[in-house]
C-alpha cells in the first residue's frame, strides 16, 4: 500500500484557475452587451448570436474530430469567439454570411494554426475584417427598432459629415451599428467585471481608448463633445475591452500592453479619419496582433540582477 503514493515535482497545489473559468468570465462579461443588443435590435440579433456561437462550437468540434485532435470545446473559447464575432455584426446580417464568417474565425484563423493559444491574430477581429471585405452589404448597419433606417445614419457616418449625434444615445446604444458595439454602458459593465475578476488589466483598454480620444481631440481642434462622440461610436469599446485584450494576441507585460493599446488607438483614428472604411477598430487590432511578437520581445521584463554572472 505504501507504494501507491504519487511522486511529482513541486509545486503540489494549484490555484484552481483554468482556461475554462477565464472564458466563462469573458462570456459573463459579454452578456450585458449581448442582452442590450437583443433589446435594441430585436430577436434578429439573437438569431445572429445563436448562429455564430453554434457554428463556432460545432466547427471546432468537427475540426478536432477530423484532424483527430483531443476535443477542446469544453474550454469555452469557441463560445467566446462566436459571441464576440456576433456582437461585431449587424442584426440584419444574412445567416449564411454569419456561418461563413464563424467558420473562417474558428477554422482558418484558430484551428489551422493549432487551436487555442496558437493563433497569431484575433479570430473575431480577423473574421470581421474578412466579412467586411467579402460581403459589402455588411457595411450597411442595422438600426434600432424605433429608429427610422431610411433617414438615419450611423453615428460614424454622421460624424464624418460633422453632425454631432446625441451623446446619451451613443452611451446607451440607441443608434445604428453592430449588435454588441452600440451600448457603451453594457460594455463598460462587462469591462469592470473582467477587471474585478482579474481576467484583464486596465492597460490595453485605457491606452487604446485614451489614445483614440486624445488623437481625435487634437484632430477636432479641442472639441471635447465631438471627440467623445467619436470614441463612443463604432466598435472602439468592444474592441478595446474584449478583442484587443485577447491574451493570445496581445503582449504579456503591462508596458507591452500600453504600447499595444497606444498603437491600436492611433491606427483606429488614422483609418477613421483618412481611410476608406468608416471604422478602423478591427483593422487596428489585426495590425497590432501582427506586431505583437515584436512588442512582446521589446517590452519583456528585465531579469533580476540583470541575469549576468
Amino acid at each position: 500500500m505504501e507504494n501507491k503514493l504519487h511522486v511529482a515535482a513541486s509545486p503540489h497545489i494549484h490555484s484552481g484557475r483554468s482556461t475554462q473559468k477565464i472564458m466563462l468570465d469573458v462570456i459573463i462579461a459579454l452578456l450585458p452587451a449581448a442582452i442590450a443588443g437583443v433589446v435594441i435590435f430585436g430577436l434578429q440579433a439573437l438569431l445572429v448570436i445563436a448562429v455564430s456561437v453554434v457554428t463556432c462550437v460545432l466547427g471546432e468540434f468537427l475540426f478536432n474530430l477530423i484532424i483527430k485532435k483531443e476535443q477542446t470545446i469544453s474550454d469555452l473559447s469557441a463560445v467566446v469567439t462566436g459571441l464576440i464575432l456576433a456582437l461585431n455584426l449587424p442584426a440584419n446580417a444574412p445567416v449564411w454570411q454569419v456561418v461563413v464568417g464563424a467558420i473562417f474565425a474558428i477554422i482558418i484563423v484558430k484551428g489551422l494554426f493549432g487551436g487555442i493559444g496558437k493563433n497569431f491574430v484575433n479570430p473575431a477581429a480577423t473574421a470581421r475584417v474578412f466579412m467586411l471585405i467579402a460581403f459589402a452589404s455588411l457595411a450597411e448597419p442595422a438600426f434600432p427598432k424605433d429608429v427610422d433606417a431610411v433617414s438615419g445614419a450611423t453615428p460614424l457616418a454622421q460624424l464624418a459629415n460633422n453632425q454631432l449625434p446625441v451623446l446619451k444615445d451613443l452611451f446607451l446604444g440607441n443608434i445604428g451599428g453592430a449588435i454588441g458595439e452600440t451600448c457603451t454602458l453594457a460594455l463598460l459593465i462587462g469591462g469592470i467585471y473582467l477587471l474585478a475578476k482579474k481576467v484583464i488589466t486596465w492597460h490595453i483598454p485605457v491606452a487604446f481608448i485614451g489614445t483614440a480620444f486624445l488623437f481625435t481631440l487634437a484632430i477636432e481642434g479641442g472639441n471635447i463633445e465631438m471627440a467623445l462622440a467619436w470614441i463612443l461610436s463604432g466598435g472602439l469599446f468592444i474592441g478595446a475591452i474584449f478583442m484587443a485584450t485577447d491574451y493570445v494576441t496581445s503582449p504579456a507585460t503591462p508596458f507591452g500592453k500600453i504600447v499595444f493599446g497606444i498603437g491600436a488607438g492611433l491606427i483606429t483614428v488614422l483609418i477613421r479619419e483618412w481611410g476608406k472604411y468608416p471604422e478602423g477598430v478591427s483593422f487596428a487590432i489585426l495590425l497590432m496582433n501582427i506586431l505583437n511578437p515584436y512588442i512582446d520581445s521589446l517590452t519583456a521584463r528585465k531579469l533580476y540582477g540583470g541575469g549576468k554572472k
Binding site: N3, S10, H14, S18, G114, L303, Y304, G305, K308
Partner: protein
C-alpha cells in the same frame, strides 16, 4: 518599500499555528549520512555498536558537509545505502532505541572565546540550514570580512508550515542566546528579523525576545509568497540584489533561518548537537494535525501515527510545503535535519489537473519574482537551445512555483524550468570534461 519583487497569494492553511509542539519518541530511527548540501558524512560506527543520544555516528567529509549524531540511545542494527530524494544513494544508519534516551557522556556546553571557537562549535553541532536547504551553517559564518546585514528568516511563506512560528513562540530564549553569540563573534552591522505580517504573535514575541538588542530590527513584511526565498528576503529587507550564481555574502549579507538560530542557541547552552527537529504534520489525510518534535531519523509513518494516523489514503506525502516540497515515494522515509513539515495530502489537495495549450495569458511572466520568461524558456528547452534557456533566465530560477500555481492551462512550468536547469548543468559538465 518603494519597490518589491513580484509574487503571489497562496492559501495559508496554517492550521497548526496555535498548537504547541509535542515531543515524541521513536522505537527505531534511520539516519541518512547526508541531510545537508555537500558531501555525505562517513559512518564511524559498526553494526551492533551501542550509541547514546548525541553520539557521533558519521563524521564530516570535506568543507561543505556536516557531521551526523545518534538521535536515540540503543544499538546500531543496520548501515545500508538509501535512496535520497535527489536521486542519489548514501549510507543510512539504523538504530534500535533502548527507550532510555540516555545522553552521550561527552556532551557538554562548548567553551567559546574566539570567532574560530564559535565556527568550530557550529561545525561540530551538526547544524545545517533548517529552513529546508540544509546548507552547513558553520560555512555561512566562516567569513573573514565584516558583514553588513544578518537577515533572520522567519517569513515562513509556505502554506501549512508553522514549525518556524512555533520556534519563534516557544524558543525566544534559544533565539536570543544564538543571536547574542553570533553578534559577539561575527562582525555584523545590522540585524533584520523578517517575519510575514500574518504571524502577529511571532512578531510580538520576537520583539520581546531580541527587540532590545541595539542592532536588531524586527520587521513585519507583507504576506506574499515567496517572501522567505533567500534572494527575495534579502532584497525586501536590504534592497540588495544577489545576482545570478551569487550568495548573500557576496553582497554583505548572511541569511539564517530562525529555527537554525534557535538550534545554535540551544547547542551553545547544552552542547547537545542537532538530534531532533520540530516538524509540522498536516494535510487533509492527517487525523490530528500538530507540530511534533521528533528524533531525526524517525520514519514519517511513525510521526503520522503519533498524530492519530490517516483518515484516508494519502495521494501525496511531502517533505516540506506544497509549493516547494518534495514528494516522497513511501512513508517509511525518515525525518531529516532540514525537514520542517511533513504533509499527507488528499487527492483533492494534491490536484494534478491535465495540461492544456498555453493561452499566453502572461500570468507566469508577470508573477515570477525574478522576471523569468517561462514560455520562452519552455520553447528554448524544447529546442535544446542553451543560449535561449539562459536568456530566458533559467539559471536564476529558485523553483518557487509561482508560475505553475496560477497557470490556467496547468502547464508544468516549474518542472520544465527544473529540467532546463538540469540540462544546463549537464552541458556545463560536458564542457568541463572536454577541457
Amino acid at each position: 518599500m518603494a519597490f518589491s519583487l513580484h509574487g503571489i497569494k497562496v492559501p495559508h492553511r496554517k492550521h497548526t499555528a496555535d498548537m504547541p509542539a509535542e515531543r515524541m519518541t521513536a522505537a527505531t530511527v534511520t539516519i541518512p549520512t547526508v541531510m545537508h548540501i555537500g558531501k555525505p558524512a562517513t559512518p564511524i560506527v559498526k553494526v551492533g555498536e551501542l550509541v547514546k543520544v548525541g553520539t557521533l555516528i558519521a563524521q564530516q567529509e570535506g568543507y561543505v558537509s556536516s557531521p551526523v549524531y545518534a538521535s536515540v540511545s540503543g544499538k546500531v542494527t543496520k548501515i545500508q545505502d538509501m535512496l535520497l530524494s535527489n536521486g542519489s544513494f548514501a549510507p543510512a544508519i539504523t538504530i534500535e532505541s533502548d527507550g532510555e534516551m540516555a545522553q552521550d557522556e561527552s556532551i557538554a556546553a562548548p567553551a567559546i572565546n574566539t570567532k574560530e571557537d564559535f565556527v568550530e562549535a557550529l561545525k561540530k553541532s551538526g547544524i545545517v540550514g533548517l529552513g529546508g536547504a540544509g546548507f552547513p551553517t558553520y560555512v555561512k559564518f566562516n567569513v573573514d570580512k565584516p558583514v553588513d546585514y544578518l537577515v533572520i528568516n522567519g517569513a515562513e511563506c509556505e502554506p501549512y508550515i508553522t514549525s518556524d512560528t512555533r520556534t519563534m513562540l516557544e524558543r525566544g530564549d534559544d533565539i536570543r542566546t544564538g543571536l547574542e553569540a553570533v553578534l559577539e563573534f561575527i562582525e555584523i552591522d545590522k540585524v533584520i528579523f523578517a517575519i510575514e505580517k500574518n504571524k502577529k504573535a511571532a512578531v510580538t514575541e520576537m520583539q520581546k525576545a531580541v527587540g532590545d538588542i541595539d542592532k536588531v530590527q524586527v520587521k513585519a513584511l507583507p504576506t506574499i509568497y515567496p517572501q522567505g526565498g533567500e534572494k527575495v528576503l534579502v532584497y525586501h529587507t536590504t534592497k540588495r540584489v544577489i545576482g545570478n550564481g551569487k550568495l548573500p555574502i557576496d553582497v554583505g549579507c548572511i541569511v539564517i533561518n530562525c529555527t537554525t538560530l534557535a538550534a545554535i542557541g540551544s547547542y551553545l547552552k547544552t552542547g547537545l548537537p542537532l538530534v531532533e527537529k520540530c516538524v509540522t504534520v498536516d494535510g487533509g489525510c492527517v487525523k490530528e494535525p500538530k507540530n511534533v518534535i521528533a528524533p531525526i531519523g524517525t520514519a514519517l509513518k511513525d510521526v503520522f501515527d503519533f498524530c492519530g494516523g490517516f483518515t484516508q489514503e494519502p495521494q501525496k506525502v511531502l517533505y516540506g510545503g506544497p509549493m516547494m516540497g518534495i514528494a516522497v515515494p513511501d512513508v517509511n522515509v525518515p525525518v531529516l535535519k532540514q525537514t520542517n513539515a511533513i504533509l499527507a495530502l488528499t487527492e483533492k489537495e494534491a490536484r494534478l489537473p491535465k495540461a492544456t495549450n498555453c493561452i499566453r495569458c502572461g500570468t507566469c511572466i508577470n508573477t515570477c519574482p525574478f522576471g523569468i520568461n517561462p514560455p520562452a524558456l519552455a520553447t528554448a528547452f524544447r529546442d535544446k537551445d542553451i543560449e535561449g534557456i539562459k536568456k530566458a533566465g533559467a539559471e536564476i530560477c529558485m523553483e518557487c512555483g509561482c508560475c505553475s500555481f496560477n497557470c490556467p492551462a496547468n502547464r508544468p512550468i516549474t518542472q520544465t524550468n527544473k529540467l532546463a536547469k538540469a540540462l544546463l548543468r549537464e552541458v556545463a559538465m560536458k564542457e568541463k570534461e572536454a577541457k
